[in-house]
C-alpha cells in the first residue's frame, strides 16, 4: 500500500509520520512536495502536523492554497484515503474537506500532553482495529485545537457517526475536565460523511513504538493497512 506524506513549508511532523509508516509499519511511503500537482500512484495521503506557512493568519489557512491541494481535494472526492493530523486536520478544515473550524485553545496556551480518547466509530478504514467505545491514549501538541461546529453541523456529525474520537477520562467519561482545549462536544477527530477523510488533533505517529511508551497510535495506522489489504476500496 503506497502512502504519501505531503510536505508543506513549515510541516514538522512529516519525518515522524514517514518513520512510523515506513520503518515501523513497513509500508512504502514517499514525501510529496507541496508544489506538486498530482497524487497518481498513492493509496493513502497524510497531511502531517507542524506549522505550515508558520500558521500565520490562521492555522492551515494558507496551506489550503498550496499547489497540491486541488489534487488532494480531487483524491478525496474520488474516495482516496486522506488522514490529516494536527496541522493536517486544520488544513482539511480550511480546505472544506471536513466541516467546522478551529479556534485557539480555550486556555490560550500551547498544550503538549497525553490525552485519553474514546473511539466513537470503529467502522472506518482508520479505526477498524479498535473496539467500539475503546479508550486509547495519544499525545496532543497544539495551540489551536479548539474544534467548533455550529449546532446544525454538529447534529449532523453526531447523527452520521462522523465524530470518531472524543476527549475523555481514563475511564472513558466524556467530561469538561478531560477536554484539553475547549472543543465542542469534546471532539478530537472527525471523518467526512463518506468515511474516507479523517482529521484528528492527537498524534498517532508519536505513539507507534514500544520505546515511546505507547503503541495506541500504531493501531490507527495499521487499521488503514488492514482495511486496504482486506480489499477495502472507496470510489475509484
Amino acid at each position: 500500500m503506497q502512502f504519501g506524506v505531503i510536505v508543506f513549508p513549515g510541516s514538522n511532523c512529516d519525518h515522524d509520520v514517514y518513520h512510523a509508516v515506513g520503518a515501523v509499519l513497513g509500508q512504502p511511503v514517499e514525501y510529496i512536495w507541496h508544489a506538486e500537482k498530482s497524487l497518481r500512484g498513492f493509496d493513502c495521503i497524510i497531511l502531517p502536523g507542524g506549522f505550515s506557512y508558520g500558521d500565520y493568519l490562521r492555522a492551515g489557512a494558507i496551506a489550503r492554497f498550496a499547489n497540491i491541494m486541488p489534487a488532494v481535494v480531487d483524491f478525496a472526492r474520488r474516495g482516496g484515503l486522506v488522514l490529516g493530523i494536527c496541522n493536517g486536520f486544520q488544513i482539511l478544515l480550511e480546505a472544506g474537506l471536513l466541516p467546522g473550524a478551529m479556534r485557539k485553545n480555550d486556555c490560550l496556551q500551547f498544550r503538549c500532553q497525553d490525552v485519553y480518547l474514546k473511539v466513537e466509530n470503529n467502522h472506518l478504514p482508520f479505526t477498524l482495529k479498535f473496539k467500539g467505545g475503546e479508550v486509547i491514549r495519544l499525545p496532543i501538541a497544539h495551540g489551536e485545537g479548539n474544534y467548533f461546529a455550529d449546532p446544525a453541523t454538529l447534529a449532523e456529525l453526531e447523527e452520521n457517526g462522523q465524530v470518531v474520537f472524543r476527549y475523555c477520562t481514563p475511564a472513558g467519561e466524556v467530561t469538561a475536565a478531560a477536554n484539553p482545549n475547549g472543543s465542542v462536544a469534546n471532539i478530537a477527530g472527525i471523518v467526512n460523511r463518506e468515511g474516507n477523510v479523517l482529521g484528528l488533533m492527537p498524534h498517532p505517529e508519536r505513539a507507534a513504538e514500544e520505546i515511546l511508551g505507547n503503541t495506541d497510535g500504531l493501531k490507527l495506522l495499521a487499521s488503514i493497512v488492514e482495511w486496504w489489504e482486506g480489499g477495502g476500496r472507496y470510489g475509484g
Binding site: C13, G54, E205
Partner: protein
Amino acid sequence: MEDKPWREMGLTDEEYERICSLLGREPNHLELGMFAVMWSEHCSYKNSRPVLRLFPTKAPWVLQGPGENAGVVDIGDGQAVVFKIESHNHPSAIEPFQGAATGVGGIVRDIFAMGARPIALLDSLRFGPLSEPRNRYLFSGVVGGIAWYGNCLGLPTVGGEVYFDPSYSGNPLVNAMCIGLIEHQKLRRGLAAGVGNAVMLVGARTGRDGIHGATFASEELGEASESRRPAVQVGDPFREKLLVEACLALIEEDLLVGMQDLGAAGLTSAGSEMASRAGTGMELDVARVPRREEGMTPYEVMLSESQERMLVVPRRGCEERVREILERWDLEATVIGRVTADGSFRILEADKVVAEVPVRALTSDCPVYKRERRRPDYLEALQQYDLSALPEPGDYNRVLLDLLGSPNIASKEWVYRQYDFMVRTDTVVGPGSDAAVLRIKGAKKGLALTTDGNGRYCYLDPEMGGAIAVAEAARNLSCCGARPLAITNCLNFGNPEKPEVAWQFYHVVLGMSRACEALETPVTGGNVSFYNETGGKAIYPTPVVGMVGLLSDVSRRCTQGFRQEGDVIVLLGETLDEIGGSEYLAVVHGLVAGRPPRLDLDKEKRVQQVVRAAIQQGLVEAAHDCAEGGLAVALAEMALSGNLGARVDLSGDLPPSRFLFSESQSRVLLAARPEKAGEVLALAKAAGVAATGIGFCGGDRVVISHRGTGLIDLALEEMAAKWRGSLPNCLG
C-alpha cells in the same frame, strides 16, 4: 560627549586610541560602529578570556572545542553531537517574548551552521519571585516565546530548569541550549576559505532591527534600558524552519566551504570571524544586501541583527545550485561579496569603499582586561552565620509540603506542557526527570541531556558552587545511566569591572574547571554574559552547565519514579550537617546564608560510577539524585513521579532538619528489586561508597521516621496538590 562618539557606542577612550593606532588613522563612523560591536564583551570576551583559559577543553572524544559556532563530541559509529548554550538575558528583560524566542533562534543557527541537524532544545531560566507582577509577566512571556519559536521549528524542548530568587528580579536569565546530530564527514566550520570564492547571504532580508544588540548585551540594565527595545530583534520561526532545511540540503549536496550564522553584530561579526578563522580577507558590498526597509545606511546594514540569516561561502561554481535550493524553500540567496587574500575586511557601497579594516583588528586585537579581583565583603558574615542556633521546625510534614510548593522545587509542568517535547519522536525521557533522554533512530544508543547551576551556592562560595554545578549535571546524567561526555556553559555574572564580580567569576570558573577535570567532562564552548545588574546590584553569580551524556544501550535508561511495591530504597552517599544555602533555609527561615555543601570530587566520581554500573547491569528500577530540598524532597519526587509511596527509616545523630533537608552532595537514591538490592550494596562497597538500605516502596503515602520515631507521614495526594499546584497558583 558629542566629540567622543565612541563612548556612546560603549568603547573607552583607551580603546579608541588603540583602534586609531591599529588603523594608523581615525576610523570613520561605520568602522567605529564595527569595532564597537566586535570589541563588546559579548563578541570579544575581553574581560573573560584570560580566566576561561582555566577550562579543560580536550579529551579523545572532543572533536571540536571552544572557538567555533558550537562544540562537537564523538558518540561512535561515525556520529557526533553538536551542542551549545547561549544567553539572551538582556533582550528578555526588556521584551520577554521576542527576547526568549530569538534566543532560541540564535542557538539553533549555531548548531546547523556546523552542518548538524538540530534535534532538541533545553532552557535554563531564572526570575525574581512570582509574587511580583513584573516577574510573572517576564516568566510567562519568556516561556511563551520559547514555546512559540521552538514548537514552530519542530524542535522538542526536552528539559532545562527554572529557579526563582529576588536576585534575578529585573534581570532574568534566559539561557537556551541546542543539540544537533551529525555524521563526522559532514561537519562544517565557519571558514571563508578559497580566495575568490563568493560570499552569499541567505535567508531573511535585512532590516533595522537589533542594531547594537551586542553592545546592549554588554552594559548594565537601568532606567534607560526600556529605550533599548529597538535593539531587541524580532523572530520568525517559520522562516528559520525553512532556513534549517535549506542549509542542511546545502550540506547534504556538499556545496559549501563554510557557513556561519548571523547573530550578535550581524554581518560585521559573521564576515570578519569567517575570514579570521581562514586567515583570509573579505570584501562585502552592502548595496547587494537585500533589504526589508528602504534608505538603510551601510552602518545599519553592517550592524543589523535581523534574524534568520546565514552567511555561506559556496564551493567555486556552486553559487547557482545554492540559489536553487534556497529558492525551493522560498528563501533568497544573494552573492554579496568575495573572499580576498589581503586580510582586510573591506565594505563597499556599490563601487565606493565605505570601510576598510584589518580582519584581525576586529577579531583578535581587542584589548584583553585582567580585571582586579577582590573577595566580596559580604562573604565573611554570610559564611560564618551560625546556623546551629536556628530552631528546629515543629512540624516536618508542614516543612516538606512548603518545600514541595516552593516554585524552585515544585513541578514545572506549567512550563513544559507549553513546549512540544515529543516532536521528532525521539524523546524517550521527557521533562520532569533528572535528565532528558533521546533515542537515536536506527541505533542502540541514546543521548542524555541536562542543564544545571545553583546561583545561591555560587553566591555563598563561588568555587564550591561552580564545582557543584558541573558535578550535579553529571550526576543527573548518571542517574539516567548515561556516561557524561562534555559540557557547554553560560556564565551569567554582574559587571566584571567591579573587583568583587571579577573575583566571583574567577572562582566559579576555577571550581567548574576542577570538576570538569575530575569528572572528565571538558568544556566545548559556551558564552559569557556579564553586566547582569539592575540598579547597580548584580545577580547571583550563575554558571549554567549544559551537559551531554551517552547511553550505550538506551533500553537500559533509568528514570526517577518508583515502579513497584516492595522495591528496596538505597541511599548512596552520606548526609552531613549541610543546610547552608539550602532551599530549606530559604523557605523555612528566610535565609540565604552559611556555606554551601562540600563537594569531594573523588567521592562524587565513585558514587556516579556505582549508579551507572548498577543501571547498566539492570539492578535498578529508579534513580534520583538528592538536590534542592535534600533527601526528603528527593524521596517525595520519586514517589510523586511514580505515583507510588514509600516508607523509610533513617539513622544517624543529626537533628531531623538536617538528615531530611540537608543538601549534602554526592548522594543518590536508588530503588531495586529485593533480590537485587544485595548486588547494589556490594557494588557500592567495592567502590568504597557508603550505601544504606533505608526502606521500601509501597502504598500511597510517604512515611519517614528516625530510628522508629515518626517525622513525616503524608498522602501522595496531598503532596501532589502542593507540588503540581504551586506554579499554576502563583500565576493565577
